[in-house]
């Protein structure tokens, strides 16, 4: 069972209290965008095997969205941060680097 920190409630939550919203930091497209951009926004996800940054919602708690860094292979969680961030904060990247020497950093 995943155990993820909600930065709003400031406590660890069980996976059953949360719901995952998929890849974080997507660029939101609207009807004025090109077909290719809109397709990417709707369907193309990184879906990598390794570190990912994703959206979670504390549905059975505060109801708020936040972001988390997690490894999709081991399910190790590296910490959460505010959904207002447009890219992963330095502190999270440093935490990841401490346990994953081969981590190449966040790519758009």
């Amino acid at each position: 069972m995943l155990n993820i920190y909600c930065p709003i409630c400031q406590r660890d939550c069980d996976e059953t209290e949360l719901s995952c919203g998929g890849q974080a930091h997507l660029i939101r497209r609207d009807h004025a965008s090109s077909d290719k951009d809109f397709y990417e926004y709707l369907y193309e996800r990184k879906n990598g095997k390794g570190i990912i940054f994703e959206r979670w919602r504390h549905v059975y708690g505060c109801g708020k969205w936040f972001h988390t860094a997690r490894c999709t292979l081991t399910n190790q969680v590296f910490g959460s941060y505010s959904a207002k961030e447009v890219q992963p904060p330095k502190s999270i990247l440093a935490t990841i680097r401490r346990s994953r020497v081969d981590f190449k950093g966040w790519v758009k």
Binding site: M1, N47, N75
Partner: protein, 415 residues
Amino acid sequence: MKRYSLSSIFTEAFRDNLGWEKAWTKRQPKKEYQIIIVGGGGHGLATAYYLAKNFNMTDIAVIEKGWIGGGNTGRNTTIIRSNYLQESSIGIYEKSRFLYETLSQDLNYNIMFSPRGVLMLCQTEHELRAMKRTSHANRINGVDTKMVAPEEVKEIVPIININGPRFPVLGALWQPRGGTARHDAVAWGYARKCSDFGIDIIEQCEVIGVKKKREKIVALETTKGNIKAKKVCFVAAGHSSVLADLAGFRLPIESVALQALVSEPIKPMIDCVVMANTVHGYLSQSDKGELVIGGGADGYNNYSQRGSFHHIEETVRALVETFPVISRLRQLRQWGGIVDMTGDRSPIISKTPVDGLYINCGWGTGGFKAIPGSGWATAEMIYNERPGKLASPFSIDRFSEGRLIDESAAAAVAH
């Protein structure tokens, strides 16, 4: 290849079974092949098999990073049915079910196809309406299904509780020609025939890079060295995005863990497959007597091949409510597989942005039933260098073109 037959069993019985051959030959890669299939699951092996059988192509390698059938093909709950909603889905799933009927004879390998019937319960008014619609769609497309009333459900499955309390059974969609087959045998049977055709089956060999020249594929880097190829097809289920990454493009796919479990073996108590989509659980009984149980997939992307514990609990809770008699059974084993989910819950059989590179993926929680049909259609696409009638609706373009093949209702519970 020595044929399996009554007389071979008889002969071997008199010489301590010493004369059986290895089902397939384990090969080391050659420098170059006409076609390389990446992924030694059912879909990859079936693709290679139909390339040989239908198109006389045999300069082929099937490359598998682990062992044959060690992916989802050896981890699924083996339900075979074709009661889908959309015409294109019915086309490929019904072709597949039809091929399953004679696959044992075709492969000379007993895949234990058991058309014991698949019952999809309706436990809400909405589900009842949706299933009625599906049954009409099935009728129009020549798939033999019908709606049955609650009393008939009880007759087909005496151990079921149709009275609720939460979700009474309001009816069911019954496909008498659906059923199960032995999953390992499907992989092994295809591998044996491929090997017999002269196709190289290469295990313990992982693809770790893709070599391209002007957006055309030329070779694969593997843990057993570089192998050149004219055409390549990725058939890697949950790992498709990882391979696509190596080739420089992305897929509309997300990978999640899906779990199954079996109970301790007991005497025969249920002789068909029952799926309960509303409460999220399904069940059948294997020939060994174990109840084979499956439920929902994890709610977040992962490659952990384990799955979340609470999903198992939810699945079992739902089934105990539907089949109170199973409440005292113990669980024997549990496992997970990484399934490749698309937005419309339909597969992808398609060309890719890289010339000479094809892909077959997106079968998600329900591709075991599709192995023969999918292999058939993918072989046709690779040989002709364009998809045929069965495969063409499933191209990657359908997402940007808005031609989704929506099967989210037919695939409501993971199967």
